[in-house]
């Protein structure tokens, strides 16, 4: 497969007011570079997806943007540049990450999990979590039914909803989702993607990392393909969805099955 170079690649021109602009982000684990000069842009109200094989550096990229991992490069969020992103500051400024492993507080109730999502707002004196809680419950009625249950005893789909709901408690401008469909049944995957679309309608910008490439490309406006730590391809999501190279790389069934895909 030929890899497009960074210079000749198109940029996310459809992003009118960029909420997030990442330039030449690099992350190293010891002597190994896991992410090399990755540049991405998320526009206001956009859904942008990053797809790529396991081990390509997708999770690393989200962690670095969020400030969980140390990195080199530039991260500009909501108009101002972060020299060294710090998690608490990013949360306070309206960025939240729903991590791949959910990272729930298993031995605490669903409601406590949710309320903790508003911790940073509470700390800054914005004590409106009771109201936000009702909004999240309206979006996920199931969570309201299970409000007193321990998070650790819930099913996979409910946990993912709780993880998303908890992130929403921070009233984010940018929501980053790492593999939200991981290990979930089709019905629930559909529900999650419905909610992603719904959130965009409400004005939340979304950066979505998915290995379910097809589903991600269907909801996204713009997409990046990450391979061995580098952005290999990018373009409007619907274009990439039809790009034989993407199909070959992700689905591995070769071009001959494209016909089957479109049926």
């Amino acid at each position: 497969m030929t890899q497009q170079t960074q210079a000749s690649a198109p940029s996310n021109a459809s992003a009118k007011n960029p909420v997030l602009e990442v330039k030449e982000l690099c992350v190293s684990y010891g002597k190994v570079e896991a992410l090399t000069n990755a540049s991405i842009t998320v526009g206001e109200g956009q859904i942008v997806t990053v797809i790529g094989p396991n081990g390509a550096g997708k999770t690393t990229m989200l962690s670095a943007i969020m400030g969980v991992l140390g990195s080199r490069g530039q991260v500009a969020f909501d108009g101002s540049l972060e020299v060294v992103p710090e998690v608490e500051r990013m949360v306070a400024r309206g960025m939240t990450l729903v991590p791949e492993k959910r990272e729930l507080f298993g031995e605490m109730s669903v409601e406590d999990n949710l309320v903790l999502g508003a911790f940073q707002r509470y700390r800054m004196g914005k004590r409106d979590h009771a109201q936000t809680l009702e909004e999240v419950y309206a979006l996920f009625p199931r969570l309201k039914e299970r409000r007193d249950q321990h998070a650790g005893t819930m099913s996979g789909g409910e946990r993912q909803m709780l993880a998303v709901g908890r992130a929403l408690m921070a009233k984010p401008k940018l929501l980053m989702l790492d593999e939200p469909s991981l290990g979930l049944a089709p019905l629930i995957v559909r529900e999650i993607f419905r909610i992603i679309s719904e959130l965009r309608r409400r004005g939340v910008s979304i950066l979505l990392v998915e290995q379910n490439a097809r589903a991600a490309l269907q909801v996204a406006d713009y997409a990046y393909v990450l391979e061995t730590g580098q952005i290999a391809m990018q373009g409007p999501a619907h274009e990439l969805a039809d790009d034989p190279r993407v199909i070959e790389a992700y689905l591995g069934f070769g071009g001959k099955h494209q016909a089957m895909l479109s049926t």
Binding site: K31, E179, Q211, N212, R214, A215
Partner: protein, 597 residues
């Protein structure tokens, strides 16, 4: 002449001359440094290399000192015991035996627990023993025991600081040589894997519990020997030098000097001892009060070292002497290690029957069955989260099925530990690479041959293992060449790209001479050429009769390589068959390509 040998030679020559050229004060100071360094050396092995620690080493020193003090001064010993007290050399053996017994007892209590229980346990037991020394009237209580005889060696009485100096430093250098040899051996690699590589080491057949016990006992014996020398140097013992705070000081010595390095023990003991002398003269007059104020400085110094230079002083000093890194030599003439006879192609190697695994309400695997035959590559594929890793864990014996069973060579895997499974001939790689980043590629791969070799601690310490070691290294080098990492053989494993680290894991697995290879996402992070090379290697292994199970994501890689495919989704098998068949299967296409609507 190599620079390192030159420096070492100069150091030894200086040591020989010390009693002749230095004043008794400095000889005594060096005697103490030697005694302390011996204890710190044990902590280098325990803490710096093995990742365990003890604040109770002073109590082991006390055991050595009190054993010899009590036996050599006692007048009313029962007849069967009296002969032991006749010579300090007998009491040294007695002290070492008692210490080993106590260390084994304490080790068996704490070493199975998480790492922090051991140090906490040692604080508690250090205090207990200290109070015991102080309260037992037969041991002289707080006044202690006087009149300990000097050591005699070939008719030479070591009753002065200048005489016992040679014995102390001979003991220390012997301890250092032994430790150095041990670390550069089969057992040494197992010990070095304790810090951050236990799961991997167990999968390669290393009994990490035993390895921990070994270093704990060695550290205790070094401390005991130091105590024996101390008692005969002072000719008097009381409980004070064996309290838990002195135990803490020993740890400071190891950490300040460089806990990961044999020479760090001397550097640390030297720095702390000299600094203590100096501060004890200087601080009380500065502060206008008397007391152990040097502890304030030591405490702060220690925190600063851990913040700023966690490796200690030795690596910094070492940079001052330019030394070439000396690579190991591979002896091409070494006899190859014995190999197992692989089962005939087509023999059933691995069989999973109706494996179901539940986690609470979650069914991670539901009625999964699969089989792998000799000379065949089977791929287990499925979307992320389909339950492949859970299945992999049950096959490799890390996890146990809720119902159903996994048979390897006809025997159930459940209930066996990783070591036993490795011994039966199953060898694996890890989804999240597990290697020892500061060790060379060669040494990492050599760990794989652990079960194919047998030399133990004593042979290693005294270099009786070299023939076998050459065979191990030759085998490791062979596997490294085979997987295409020859150019990186002497590089630090941590400096390889992620893809190459995965390949290293395959070489390590092959070094174990398995009949079943389990590979967890071997192609992740590899570039196109590397994937092709890996595929070639796996095909070659297949033609030799190896059975291989691959969990993989990369379809291209899988489809052009494997004989059969099992596809999983939501914990269940949704398809099985030849690659071409599976690619046409609508359920598979739906699982992989399934859209939103």
């Amino acid at each position: 002449m190599r620079t390192d040998r030159l420096v070492l030679g100069a150091f030894l020559a200086l040591l020989l001359m010390v009693p002749a050229i230095l004043s008794p004060y400095y000889v005594t100071l060096l005697n103490y440094i030697g005694l302390y360094a011996m204890v710190a050396l044990g902590l280098v092995l325990l803490t710096g290399v093995g990742g365990l620690t003890s604040f109770g080493q002073a109590a082991f020193v006390g055991l050595g000192a009190y054993t010899t003090a009590a036996l050599t001064t006692a007048t009313d010993l029962p007849a069967w015991l009296a002969w032991v007290g006749a010579s300090p050399w007998f009491t040294l053996v007695a002290g070492l035996l008692i210490t080993a017994a106590v260390a084994v007892l304490l080790g068996s209590l704490t070493l199975k627990l998480s790492g922090h229980f051991l140090p906490l346990g040692t604080i508690a037991w250090g205090i207990s023993l200290y109070f015991l020394f102080g309260t037992m009237q037969s041991l002289g209580g707080h006044t202690g025991i006087t009149g300990i005889p000097p050591i005699e060696l070939f008719g030479w009485t070591l009753d002065g600081g200048g005489e016992i100096f040679y014995l102390i430093w001979a003991f220390l250098l012997l301890g250092m040589l032994t430790t150095h040899n041990l670390l550069d051996s089969r057992e040494g690699r197992a010990i070095r894997a304790l810090k951050g590589g236990r799961v991997m080491a167990e999968a390669m057949g290393v009994d990490t519990g035993r390895a921990r016990m070994i270093i704990f006992v060695i550290a205790a014996l070094l401390a005991c020997a130091s105590g024996w020398l101390y008692a005969h140097m002072q000719r008097f013992v009381n409980p004070t030098p064996f309290g838990v705070h002195i135990g803490i000081e020993y740890l400071f010595m190891a950490v300040v000097g460089g806990a990961g390095y044999v020479w760090g023990a001397i550097v640390g003991a030297g720095v702390i001892t000299v600094l203590k002398q100096w501060l004890q003269d200087w601080l009380p007059s500065l502060l206008g009060a008397s007391g152990n104020f040097e502890m304030i400085v030591f405490g702060i110094l220690m925190v600063l070292v851990l913040h700023r230079a966690r490796e200690g002083l030795w690596p910094i000093l070492k940079k001052l002497v330019p030394m070439r890194t000396i690579h190991k030599t591979i002896d091409a003439q070494a006899e190859p290690l014995p190999r197992r006879t692989l089962p005939a192609p087509g023999t059933l190697i691995l069989e999973a029957k109706d494996v179901t695994r539940r986690f609470g309400g979650l069914v991670a695997n539901n009625n999964m069955s699969l089989e792998v035959k000799a000379g065949e590559i089977l791929a287990l594929i499925g979307p992320n989260g389909a339950g492949k890793s859970t299945m992999f864990n049950q096959i490799s014996g890390v996890d146990t099925p809720t119902s159903g069973e996994v048979l390897f060579l006809g025997k159930p895997v459940a209930g066996r530990d990783s070591r036993e499974i490795a011994r039966m001939g199953m060898s694996r790689t890890f989804q999240h690479v597990k290697l020892l980043p500061t060790m060379s590629v060669l040494e990492n791969v050599a760990i794989g041959a652990h079960l194919r070799s047998h030399k133990g601690v004593l042979s290693s310490a005294w270099r009786l293992d070299r023939a076998e070691e050459a065979r191990i290294l030759k085998e490791a080098a062979h596997q490294i060449e085979r997987v295409g990492l020859k150019d990186h053989m002497f590089d630090e494993a941590g400096s390889l790209a992620l893809g190459q680290q995965r390949i290293l894991e395959i070489a390590r697995a092959l070094c174990a001479d398995p009949c079943l290879l389990l590979l967890d996402e071997p192609a992740a992070g590899l570039r196109y050429k590397e994937k092709q090379a890996l595929a070639e290697l796996l095909k070659r292994l297949r033609s030799e009769g190896m059975a291989t199970l691959i969990v993989e994501h990369d379809m291209d890689f899988v489809m052009n390589l494997v004989d059969r495919v099992v596809v999983m989704e939501f914990g269940q098998k949704i398809a099985e068959g030849l690659p071409e068949e599976v690619q046409q299967n609508p359920a598979v296409l739906e699982a992989y390509l399934g859209g939103v609507e």
